[in-house]
Symmetry: C2
Subunit: 309 residues, 2 copies
């Protein structure tokens, strides 16, 4: 159970879904990741907020043991995102992005951050992701996320990150856009052929798949009954994934397969409420129950009697 570093955004989100809305709620990729991973291992955040960032949010992180030494406070306002989801809930429509203090953000890692063994590079400019990688001292496992915005603008830099990290997370649109392949197992294979060590494609209600040179692992989504807001599902997945690998202290595929299940369980919790509220409220029993249920959903007995000898 080693420490995990996340570099990403801490934001104030205003979100509307068919099920409700939230105004200036705690959001951002690093927030979702940190609350998710905090159930498994200690987490440090490197991010920036403005002077208006509410003390109550800081306290929420601290109650989950999240280290905020790397959370800079810069003059100005906190990064704000406003978006809405239609009935399909597949993809957010961004109504407004105010970068604010985030526009000049450069991750500053102190010595303890640089030595952190597990790292999540959340969805930020791939140039910043590379800056972080350059500063790290021999991490055990690095995981990246990205988004279509960067794939459209800096595809070579996104590919450079993808080649340098151990596991690259993408959603299905991003995997298709970056690989040029429609079918997702092939898209992931293409990214591995282009130098990726391992790729996880997040497929929303269809679950996710992990592909490396030697491995193909597929897991369904956990079926939630009370979906409220899909924001943060991917970062929460990453938190469960890296959290479980850190907790297990092993990088073997047996552990990474379990980590896919823990990631899936955490993503399912995240989307049952606005902001990371459910991730904060969840307990270990609840997480373990969802992982067990996922196992029941996919388990079948291999068959030895066919074909008959």
């Amino acid at each position: 159970m080693s420490r995990i570093l996340v570099v990403g955004s801490v934001a104030l989100d205003t979100i509307r879904t068919p099920f409700g809305e939230a105004v200036d709620a705690l959001g951002g990729s690093a927030s979702y990741f940190a609350f998710s991973a905090s159930h498994f291992a200690p987490v440090s955040i490197v991010a920036v907020v403005g002077e208006d960032f509410p003390t109550e949010h800081r306290e929420a992180f601290q109650r989950r043991g999240v280290d905020l030494n790397g959370l800079q406070t810069a003059p100005g306002r906190t990064f704000r995102w406003r978006g809405e989801y239609a009935a399909e809930l597949g993809h957010a429509r961004t109504l407004e992005t105010q970068l604010n203090v985030f526009s000049t953000f450069h991750p500053e890692l102190d010595d303890s951050h640089r030595g952190t063994p597990f790292v999540f590079l959340a969805n930020i400019d791939p140039d910043l992701q590379l800056e972080v990688l350059d500063q790290m001292k021999r991490p055990q496992l690095t995981v990246s996320d990205t988004m279509n915005y960067w794939i459209a603008r800096k595809p070579e830099r996104v590919m450079e990150v993808l080649r340098r990290v151990d596991v690259a997370l993408l959603n299905e649109e991003e995997a298709r856009a970056l690989s040029g392949e429609t079918q997702l197992v092939r898209a992931a294979g293409q990214l591995v052929a282009q130098g990726g060590k391992a790729v996880i494609v997040k497929k929303g209600e269809h679950g996710s798949l992990y592909r490396s040179k030697d491995e193909l692992f597929v897991i369904p989504a956990f079926p939630v009954s009370g979906l409220q807001d899909p924001t943060g599902a991917g970062d929460s997945f990453a938190g469960g994934f890296l959290g479980w690998v850190s907790r297990s202290g092993s990088l073997e595929m047996r552990v990474q397969r379990q980590a896919m299940a823990f990631g899936t369980a955490m993503a399912s919790l995240a989307i049952e409420a606005f902001s990371p509220a459910r991730l904060i409220a969840a307990d270990g029993e609840e997480i373990a129950r969802r992982v067990g249920r996922l196992h029941e959903m996919v388990d079948f007995e291999p068959e030895k009697s066919f074909p008959p000898a």
Copy 2:
């Protein structure tokens, strides 16, 4: 290993995909089903062809041991379908349908057909599917398929079939259209709530899911490297599913889960060639290897150490 009856279409298909084309090739739901299921159990077809139906196709069925006593020959031409698939390969675009002898088809079951323990009602008019069910004597397991065409025109009859059979197969569009739910696990749940015993939703590259009152089972698609023509995937899935249940001689969920894997393997073979050529050429070893590979793709160890006591 009891006999399986399939009632559906035997057709001549003209198909174009990005990978090639076929003209007047053997097709039809009953054909794909029969070749698929024939690897596991004896199969009888009830269908109709015209006087132009080639002898070589009859012989292909007979070489796989398929009983054609119920294959009527009617004056006129065989049912013909012409379609094409775009690069996405998701859904066929129908260019032409010539019902020909199929337009006046009524399934005629003789005594031996009526006593068949396993039945697949392929995609035909739900009124005809109900006619078949009315004629059957206490089958052990009945499975139905349908299509959007019937859901749009006869939704109550489609629901009546769905309630009367043991397992109803639908693709994702059909499940959404019939249930009114977007999310597929919920759509399946809705159909079960409306009286379905069990529902299988076929999700193309995302695999399939089985839902009943007490069960939720999800399996990915088998990743094929040489996709040629997606026609017949669903019927081939059904053939592997019912074939395995018949071969195992048990309806328990343990067997139905395996049957989902055999169905998935057969669907993956079907789409690797135009017409049922790959289903015909496949051998048991190849099928078993794909089922084994599917197991590897989903298998993970349940975790007992979390949360810590």
